[in-house]
Structure formats: structure tokens, C-alpha cells
Amino acid sequence: MTRFEELLEGQLTGELAPAAKAEFSELLALAENRRAFQAHRETVALLSSLERQIPSSSFTDEVLASLPERQSRSWSGLWNLLWAPRVVRWNVATALALSLVIVVTALTWNSLISRHPIASEQHPTVTLFRFSLDAPRAQHVSLAGDFNGWRTNDIVLADVTGRGHFSVTLPLKPGRYAYMFVIDGATWMTDPRAEAYRDDGFGNKNAIVDIAAPIGSNGDI
């Protein structure tokens, strides 16, 4: 591609910087360049004059009708339990039993709290999983996945040895997670040692990890 052709591309859509614009003007001194510019400008004008085809008015509704239900796991069940209308039948015995439970809970609450101060912070189904990557030339490696909304600067891997072996350990609930490493804040890299891969729609693949291990078992990749 000649310099004129390269500048022409920017000139056609008004993206040239002032210096490049001046250079382009100089190149237009050649009759051949002027003819080419005119021809390309006319073609772009013709293409730009095309009117967009509008989809039918039912387009969006038809797309939504084709979508499968995406249940938000346990939350949708809980939501239905709380908000779905239902008839509750009461009797005196049930009311007395419920009152007893409330009174006993109130009396024992403080002692329960003081005896087990960190019980509510522990999650019995979390598995510790170590993500690691050998990247000797990298200055900074972070982890992004669907578990953190693909944010690239939340989870930073540490290079403890100083030899480019980056790692981080995360507590993960059981489930299937997609993830990628981000090298120096710019380059996305698929984990070469992942358990499985899934197409990301751009010709690359997201790494996949399945967390199904019971309490206490640690994985390492």
C-alpha cells in the first residue's frame, strides 16, 4: 500500500491529523492521485447513501421468545418461596410452638453468638483453587473470569520466587467457571494447562475449571 493510499483511507472519513492532511494535499498535486481520490470519494458517497434496512417490529420479541430460561440458580427458588402467593393455615398448637421457638431463640442468641464468633463467616462448600502461570517476561499477571465479572485488575497473581511463576489461590463455590490470565494489563492469555476450554466468540478460547470437590480438597493447575 502506497503512502497516498494509506492517507486516502483517513482522508475519506476525516480522521487525518493536520500534518498528515498537509501531506495528503501535497500528494494531490499529481493528477493521477486526484483522479483516484475523486473516484474513491464518489464510491464512499454512494455507499453512504444507502438506507438501512429496518427489521420487523416483532424482531426483539421474537429474539426474546427464542431465549432459553436462564435461572439464577438458588436465588430464583428463594425468590419464588418468599413472594409467590400461598395460603397458610394456622391452629393454636402451631402458634404456641412458634412462640416457644421465638422465645428460646431470643434467650439463647447472645450465648450462641459469643460461643461461635466466626461460624457465620465460614463457608462449608468452598474449595481453595490455585491458579498459576509461568510467564518469565511478564511484569504483572492478573486473573479475570466470570466469577469476578471479567474485571482485569481485581485478582493479581504473585510471583513469589521472582522467576516468573505467578499464582493465586481463590476460594470457589462448586460450579463451572471460565477464566483468562491478563498479562501486563493488556494481553489476554488462555491458561495452557486448563482442564477444558470454551470458545469465546472471537476465535480464542476461555479456560474452564470445574469445582466439584468436597470440603477440604485443594486443586492445582
Partner: protein, 222 residues
Amino acid sequence: MVAEAVRCNPSVSGASKSQGSAGCQVSIEPRLEADPVDERAIIARCLAGERRAYALLVERYKVLVHDLVFRMLGDAAEAEDIAQEAFVKAYLSLRDFRGESRFSTWVCRIALNRCKDVLRKRRRAPWLRARYEEGPDVAEVADDGETPAHSVERCEREAALQRALASLPVKYREVIVLRHIEGMELHEIGRVLGIAVGAVKVRAFRAREMLRSLLQSEGAPR
């Protein structure tokens, strides 16, 4: 190479678009404005199970995707189906969308890949492309402020241009459609097609040369 005709129907077209200026440059209306933070929030709602939230994304990009598919395939009915498929496929893969690019870039790539599948099938089964070989429908041509004669002329011009587009090799057609019809920037086209910006420039230049040559050989109305 078989030229593909298009049925021109102004009653279903007409999205506003700026015309090329008579000066040194052609202005293209910026069409892909969207707040990426807002998009992330919408996607998070979709992933949380709120299916209706996806309608916001479909509404925002349906014209872009539909027109892109139409320009690639030249068939309005097929464009509707393929564009809808692209949105459904994007929804099913939403968990894999990392937010490196805009949602529009992603869904356009999905739609273009599907278009290429259809075009490959057409090459293997040429009779598939025959059903839309119709001329402009004069009964539908009358439009606000436009005489029937002008409408017919515009339809013929658009049909000639669409035939010329259909004659371009796919790798040039997709660049010229994204660049000059959908108004995408060079780097964004590079992301959609998975090629470098330099390659986008080369293809755009060659595509315009080829298109001009095709239009001249056809003697297209201007």
C-alpha cells in the same frame, strides 16, 4: 460469479443517514455510540436471570446487525432470521463475553460468521439464492416527499449497488459494509474480523476499487 439482486422496499427501509458531503471528505453518522459501563450492567442483569434486560441490547443493535446481514446476504427475510440467530447465540454465550470489546463488535462477529456459513452453503447449492431475485415493487415505492419516479430510480440504484456488493469476494465485502455502510472505525473492524488495522485499510481500498469497476461495467444509475 453470480450477481445477487435485491428487492427494494422503501416501506421497510429508511433509517436516517447522513449523505456524503460534496467537499473533501465524506461524513458518516456515528452509529455505534454506547456506554460500555452501561452495557456491562445490562449484561450482568441478563446473567442474573433477567431475560427482559437483553431486550435493551437487542433494541440498541438490531438495526446494525440486521443491516449488516442484509448487505452481506442480499435477502431481507434471511437477514431477519440470521440476525435473530446471532442475538440468540450471543445470549447463550454471554458468560464468555469478557468485555474487551463492545457488545456490538461481538454480536457483529457472530452474525458475520453465520453469514459466511450461509454464503458457503449457497456456493455449494446455487439454487438457494434464487428466491429473492425480484425487481423493485412499484406499488410500494411511494414514500413521503418522494415521487414514484425518484423512488424507482433510487431503488434501481440501490439494487445495482447491492448486486455489485454481492459480486465482491466475501473478505472485501465484509470490510466495505462495516466501513462505509455501518460506519465502523478501522480498529473496530479489525476486532470484528480478527485482522490488523493495516489489513483492514488494504482491503477497504481494494474493495472500493473493485466495487467501482463492477458498477462501471454494469453502467449503474448514479
